[in-house]
């Protein structure tokens, strides 16, 4: 082949390659223009986020969080971003719901109370419907007696026995969409159910420091705060100052069967005095005044083997299960939540032969930097609290296998198991190396 022919061939090759590159470029730009109409406003982060330096909005972050936490069954095609925020952190605004198959004793946006109709015969299935005005993660509780099995929309939420306390909370929480839902109960012989409540599970509220704002850029501090709450490890935040200690016997009010006692157990009670329920369940009420708002972990030193129901300010209600192995008193985590300055009420409903020795409110540091430290301890890289989160960083956080493994169990975790998540100690894979030992992986 002559030099001229070679030059011509080389020119042809170059021209062909240029045409191919140009065609690919035009195809990508054209397709991207067509794709403009396909992108909904707020949605789960997509494949374009993998290497995107765009700033992620709180709306997109919340939409992706709801997806990985398994809460999307509560959303419909016409759900708004406010519904997404409500799933992550229900804020009661006082709306009312309609109830059929039972009479409404009191309802609001995230709460429905149903007076259960009397069954025509003892073997009858109890069936009722309730129309919920807001999508949320709901917990069912029932007043009555005897063993019973409750089902919401074909999903078993718990085998309950409210005999000891007169009320029982389901162990499973369930994401429910706006609109009508069927509630079914199978009652054992001699069992009864008088009232059923479906209440949005408020104790675990996932939201940024200043609440959700759909179009506001997500900051690293907010990313950390929401991830910590999704992982259920907020009680690991560092303590701040002396805890507030309330002796159980210094209650403000006690129901009929609640008494103080000096009875000795295998472990000594604080101040040698504690409270118990004699014969029937008893409710103890404690009042406290906080000078400053703060995040608190409420802990209790309790006695007994049966579950107790605790509530803070009448809204945040949790079931506390004492350590069965402890013969005397044992500490139990009640709840971690932010409390405002001012008056607060703690109520504890305990079954017979159970008791409370004392209540501790541990103040916790809750600055953005504290949350960032906590997720870094769990193996996630952080940045400055006020730095914007890029879509790629958001995507990386939410597709981390460790985070996903725990996020997928979010609904179980809500039911009260103390989390001990496996974290990344950055020990590295047994065999791994970047594409080139001298080229940083990000390039």
């Amino acid at each position: 082949m002559t030099a001229g022919a070679q030059a011509t061939q080389a020119t042809n090759w170059t021209a062909r390659r240029a045409i191919v590159c140009l065609a690919v470029g035009i195809a990508l730009v054209g397709a991207s223009a067509a794709a403009d109409t396909l992108e909904p406003r707020y949605r789960k982060l997509g494949p374009d986020a993998v290497r995107s330096e765009r700033i992620v909005t709180q709306g997109d972050w919340a939409a992706h969080l709801v997806d990985v936490l398994g809460l999307t069954p509560a959303l419909t095609d016409d759900s708004s971003i406010e519904d997404v925020f409500g799933l992550l952190c229900p804020k009661d605004s006082g709306h009312r719901s309609d109830v059929a198959g039972g009479s409404t004793a009191g309802t609001s946006a995230y709460h429905a109370v149903i007076d259960v109709p009397k069954p025509k015969s003892p073997s009858d299935l109890l069936r009722m419907t309730v129309s919920l005005p807001s999508p949320a993660v709901y917990m069912l509780s029932v007043e009555g007696s005897g063993p019973q099995r409750w089902v919401v929309d074909q999903q078993v939420v718990g085998h309950l026995d409210p005999s000891e306390l007169g009320v029982a909370q389901a162990r499973e929480v369930v994401p429910l969409r706006r609109g009508p839902h069927e509630i079914t109960a199978f009652l054992a012989h001699d069992s009864s159910a008088e009232r059923v409540e479906l209440t949005a599970y408020t104790p675990l509220c996932i939201e940024p420091a200043e609440g959700w704002r759909a179009d506001r850029p997500l900051l690293h501090g907010d990313r950390a705060r929401t991830m910590v709450r999704a992982l259920g490890i907020e009680q690991r935040l560092p303590e701040s100052g002396e805890p507030i200690v309330i002796e159980a016997e210094s209650y403000a009010n006690a129901s009929a069967w609640g008494v103080r006692t000096h009875r000795k157990l295998t472990t000594r009670a604080s101040e040698h005095t504690w409270v118990t329920a004699e014969g029937s369940p008893a409710e103890f009420t404690y009042r406290l005044h906080l000078e400053d708002p703060s995040l608190f972990t409420v802990e209790a030193v309790v006695h007994g083997i049966s579950p107790q129901i605790w509530s803070i300010d009448g809204r945040h209600r949790v079931t506390v299960t004492p350590d069965e192995a402890a013969e005397g008193f044992a500490p139990a985590d009640v709840i971690t939540l932010p409390l405002t300055a001012g008056e607060h009420v703690i109520r504890a409903l305990i079954p017979p032969d159970s008791g409370i020795d004392l209540i501790r409110l541990v103040r916790r540091k809750s600055d953005a930097a504290d949350y960032l430290d906590l997720i870094e301890e769990a193996g996630f890289r952080g940045k400055a609290p006020a730095a914007y989160v890029t879509r790629s960083a958001a995507y990386k956080s939410l597709s981390n296998p460790t985070f996903l493994a725990h996020a997928y169990r979010y609904l179980e975790q809500v039911a009260g198991r103390p989390p001990m998540p496996l974290v990344e100690h950055d020990v590295g894979a047994v065999y791994s190396r970047p594409p080139s030992p001298l080229l940083p992986p990000e390039l």
Binding site: S32, A35, E39, A384, H425, P437
Partner: protein, 398 residues
């Protein structure tokens, strides 16, 4: 020794900067916005491992079974602001075997960096890393017999911008200087140089354009140019360029897929040119029961620190499964084919299986049991080896 002095001095300077910055940050009381804007963090950690290895020197004779104890203390420091990141990662890796003929050694992992957001979309990064690097790419990258201490100083300039059509473009240039401690190496079939140093300059440019193509589908074009120039072996100087077109999608729920393919050209300034297909396929599938499946395939040009360039084809497959909250198990297989293009010195293979189980003991402590079998085989049987390794590791990280 120059490496150590330079590195230690630079790290001490970085560390003092971190500490002084930290003092300023920590001195601010309360939780006001000013405190929230900057942040100092530190995470000390230590891992202790006991290893049973049936080939500690990675030799074909396979005659060095031994028990080793490794201790790896480490501290990660960071001071972060809205427009800058300053960090240091300071650690040591001390490896001791019972039999003195095994390669007991200690390595240092000391790195520091500063990243500055100088203008919207423009980032500069300066970094220095005194860390061990793998010598033989067709061998385990974490094995003492395959590691040499190197120092790499680099400067990056990165530009990112949105472009019309919902696309994004990233351009990055990097210059770096790598120096190594002397080690024993075979030089181009001319025998063994016991005092070989891999001192070189290198530079690279990377450009990427990505855009959404459809619902749950995005496309990208990526191109790169690299060069490397050795101080003492200019015959090994080379340039490398490549361009790929690819897509990323998660059309199927919980399935991430990225496929790219293109052309790569590798050329020595004083020698041959090699070109061919470069590409990447990676797939990750999450199952809601806590299982993650991974599959990857890569065809690319890679380089070792001696000056060899390889056309590498690697495939990996792995499964990780979380057993409850505290425990995870993973199993994987891998295989690499490295075709040496520098001296046309043949093809090397490295393949094997690995498995590990991790359990969280307490909030900050973890235990891991890992097993790996790796086998090297190639055109020159004299350097082939196989290795079984079982490692029990306890780690603490706060």
């Amino acid at each position: 020794m120059n490496i150590r002095c330079t590195t230690v001095v630079s790290l001490l300077m970085a560390f003092s900067w971190v500490v002084s910055s930290a003092e300023v940050a920590l001195a601010r009381p309360g939780s006001g916005a000013e405190t929230e804007s900057n942040r100092f963090s530190w995470h000390p950690s230590i891992t202790t491992s006991t290893e049973a290895d049936d080939n500690t020197r990675l030799e074909s004779s396979h005659s060095n079974s031994d028990i080793g104890i490794f201790i790896t203390p480490r501290i990660e420091l960071a001071y972060q602001g809205h427009w800058f990141d300053l960090g240091a990662d300071l650690g040591a890796d001390v490896r001791r075997y019972i039999d003195k003929s095994s390669p007991s050694d200690e390595f240092y992992r000391l790195s520091g960096w500063v990243e500055l957001g100088v203008l919207p979309g423009v980032t500069m990064r300066f970094a220095n890393a005194w860390v061990p690097s793998a010598v033989n790419l067709a061998g385990p990258a974490d094995h003492a017999a395959n590691l040499v201490q190197t120092n790499r100083t680099s400067a990056d300039l990165r530009f990112w911008s949105e472009v019309p059509g919902d696309g994004e473009i990233t351009l990055a240039v990097q210059g770096a200087r790598l120096i190594s401690e002397s080690f024993s190496s075979e030089i181009g079939g001319n025998g063994i140089d016991d005092d070989f140093r891999s001192d070189l300059w290198e530079g690279s440019f990377v450009g990427e354009y990505q855009t959404p193509l459809a619902d749950r589908l995005s496309g990208f074009v990526r191109t790169h140019v690299r060069f490397r120039s050795f101080d003492d072996a200019s015959i090994d100087d080379f340039g490398d360029l490549g361009a790929v077109v690819g897509i990323r999608t998660d059309w199927l729920d919980n399935l991430e897929l990225e496929i790219s393919g293109g052309y790569g050209l590798l050329g020595y300034y004083q020698g041959d040119r090699h070109h061919g297909f470069v590409g990447d396929l990676s797939l990750r599938y999450f199952v809601r029961n806590g299982t993650v499946l991974r599959l990857s395939f890569q065809s690319q040009n890679v380089f070792d620190i001696i000056g060899n360039a390889f056309a590498e084809t690697t495939a990996r497959m792995g499964v990780e499964h979380h057993l409850g909250e505290r425990t995870a198990v993973s199993v994987g297989v891998f295989s690499s084919r490295l075709d040496n293009k520098t001296w046309n010195s043949g093809v090397d293979y490295y393949a094997g299986v690995d498995a590990n189980i991790r359990r969280q003991i307490s909030r900050r402590t973890q235990v891991e049991l890992a097993y790996r079998y790796g086998q090297n085989a190639g055109d020159y049987s004299s350097d082939d080896f196989s290795e079984n390794r079982l490692m029990l590791t306890f780690s603490y990280r706060r």
